[in-house]
């Protein structure tokens, strides 16, 4: 076989290239530089900016299950909502400490993720899609009926969020909220990035690519899917809690179908399974929504829809997919 074996140099180079794929690239600093720059450039849009940052975290959590593990979901608002209500109810009932609020939200959402995932992850494809929808719908009705705790359709009133570390007050201009969201998003992103680059994360990609083969190499597929589902739920819960704490209000819309759907749209625009799709798709969608809604308050959804059709037809793999293809082409030349 020696005639087929490439040189030892080639072997060392291949292995080095393969085992260094998790290292940081310079372009990974871009979103963070832009986020800090945006703070100085658009001081009047900090509220929108904080929302965008929180929703990016939500999109990341969806990308983890959908893009990496191949678990289709149309009910991820369930976890976003559970997180939002957990932090909200705590703050409305005398515990406004934000960091522990986030942690409580993460734990609550993860528990709901584990419990529901344990039941519904036995299915795949469209059946699973329907079941995720059902879980979110059930929680929505629960929040609606339990108005004593949640405020029902009127929303949760009277939240009082304490200063972060007892020092940084949430000011009315949204300065603190913006950096709070940015820092939490950064840590959330680190967790997701580390997870997808770990052996566990690679095995998720294996499950997405070929479940039958993962079984055949002895992987505990059901367990892996459940673990990543719970992890994703926790992150979605933190995103929901961020929204609740920065807005000091929780409405039923945190749990509705529209939220589960639009997060998918945002992710598709940016690119699924790429870790950075969320960073492109979410700001683009939310800024476009903001602009369209101002320019054409009645029909702004039409323009979003038109843009979606364009993306699906012409930009396969989302914006990030196109960027990747262009880079690959320029590298070849």
């Amino acid at each position: 076989m020696s005639h087929l074996t490439p040189s030892a140099d080639r072997r060392a180079a291949d292995i080095a290239a393969f085992s260094r794929r998790h290292r940081f690239h310079w372009f990974e600093a871009l979103p963070w530089l832009i986020a800090v720059a945006a703070y100085f450039m658009f001081p009047n849009y900090l509220a929108l900016g904080s929302q965008i940052l929180a929703i990016i975290l939500f999109a990341l959590s969806v990308d983890l299950v959908l893009g990496y593990a191949g678990i289709v979901t149309l009910g991820h608002a369930a976890f976003f909502g559970v997180g939002a209500y957990t932090a909200g109810i705590l703050a409305a009932n005398g515990w406004g400490e934000p960091i522990s609020g986030l942690l409580a939200a993460a734990v609550a959402a993860a528990c709901i993720g584990l419990a529901s995932g344990w039941i519904i992850l036995r299915t795949t494809g469209l059946t699973l899609l329907m079941q995720t929808l059902v879980v979110a719908a059930m929680l929505y009705e629960l929040a609606n009926k339990a108005y004593r705790f949640t405020g029902g359709a009127d929303g949760l009133q009277g939240m009082s969020v304490w200063p972060i570390f007892g020092t940084f007050r949430f000011d009315m201009f949204g300065n603190t909220a913006y950096f709070y969201c940015l820092v939490v998003l950064f840590f959330g992103w680190l967790v997701v990035r580390n997870t997808v680059n770990s052996s566990f994360g690679r095995s998720l990609t294996g499950i997405r690519e070929n479940v039958g083969r993962m079984h055949a190499i002895g992987a505990p597929v059901a367990q892996r899917r459940l673990v990543v589902y719970a992890l994703s739920a926790a992150l979605a819960g933190i995103a929901g809690a961020l929204t609740a704490q920065t807005a000091q209000f929780v409405g039923l819309n945190v749990l509705n179908l529209e939220r589960s759907g639009t997060i998918l749209v945002m992710l598709i625009i940016g690119g699924i399974g790429r870790l950075y799709g969320a960073f492109i798709g979410v700001p683009l969608y939310m800024i476009a929504q903001d602009r369209f809604a101002e320019a054409d308050p009645t029909y702004w959804y039409f323009w979003i829809g038109l843009a979606m059709v364009f993306i699906v037809v012409f930009l396969r793999g989302g914006i990030f997919g196109v960027v990747e293809r262009l880079l690959a082409r320029s590298r070849k030349q």
Partner: protein, 250 residues
């Protein structure tokens, strides 16, 4: 009685009234090179699915090295050294060849659930995967995705993945299926080079491969064992000739 290897006792599988596997008594000795042949629809792949745990038998028993594994799930059987390849290539198509093998080794060594350290830090697994690629002659394609490989090369990756799991019993489901003749030689040679300690059962339609590699042959017809013997005995058996001539030679 030797307790090593794989044994099935009165294995049955019914889909409704259809008996796909009918009372199969089969034994694969440690280190054997055993071929399972039979016309289309004889239940060969069903048999592999029963043995590997993809399907549950309707009745009967499965023993691996003397232990009853009838109730074990698929992943547990793999952990005990019972490994298969697929008739239709089943790989992680978008991932590179090296990654495919690394995934298998990670599961074997129980590092597939490690969500803290980057996969690239498990250097030993990557080195070992590369060793296997070199043995299989796949090293030059290590970093290419499966989709870019010729079909014959993909079949080699199938075998590489199975080898990575350090099997004691290896089931090859039509390893040379769909491969042009020019490339099938490489696959036959790869099967001949498999370590002797591995018991190999292969399903194959390519009679050249069967008679070149197999020490024993079992003929399956309509879900039941028609006859078992050495290649010479099988070639001379009138019942086997009838089955194949009656249906036209594969």
């Amino acid at each position: 009685m030797s307790a090593t290897g794989l044994q099935t006792i009165a294995l049955c599988k019914n889909f409704g009234a259809l008996k796909v596997s009918n009372n199969i008594d089969f034994r694969l000795q440690a280190g054997a090179r055993h071929a399972l042949i039979g016309p289309n629809g004889a239940g060969k792949t069903t048999f592999v699915n029963l043995v590997t745990g993809v399907l549950r038998p309707s009745s009967g028993q499965l023993l691996l090295d003397g232990d009853d594994i009838t109730a074990l799930p698929q992943a547990q059987r793999v952990k005990r050294g019972l490994v298969r390849t697929f008739q239709i290539t089943a790989l992680f198509r978008k991932l590179c060849v090296l990654e495919n093998v690394v995934l298998a080794i990670s599961e074997r060594d129980g590092i597939g659930g490690d969500f803290l350290r980057p996969a690239g830090w498990h250097r030993a697994a990557i080195e070992e995967a590369y060793d296997i690629l070199e043995v299989m002659g796949l090293a030059e394609d290590a970093l290419r995705p499966i989709t870019e490989l010729a079909y014959g090369r993909q079949r080699m990756v199938e075998i590489a993945l199975a080898l990575a799991l350090k099997p004691s019993v290896l089931l090859l489901d039509e390893p040379a299926a769909g491969v042009p003749e020019s490339e099938s030689v490489t696959i036959i040679e790869a099967i001949e080079r498999l370590p002797e300690r591995i018991a190999v059962l292969f399903i194959e339609h390519d009679m050249e491969l069967v008679f070149r590699v197999a020490q024993r042959i079992t003929v399956l017809v309509q879900g039941a064992v028609l006859v078992e013997g050495t290649p010479a005995e099988i070639a001379a058996d009138p019942r086997v000739r009838e089955v194949y001539l009656g249906e036209g030679r594969h």
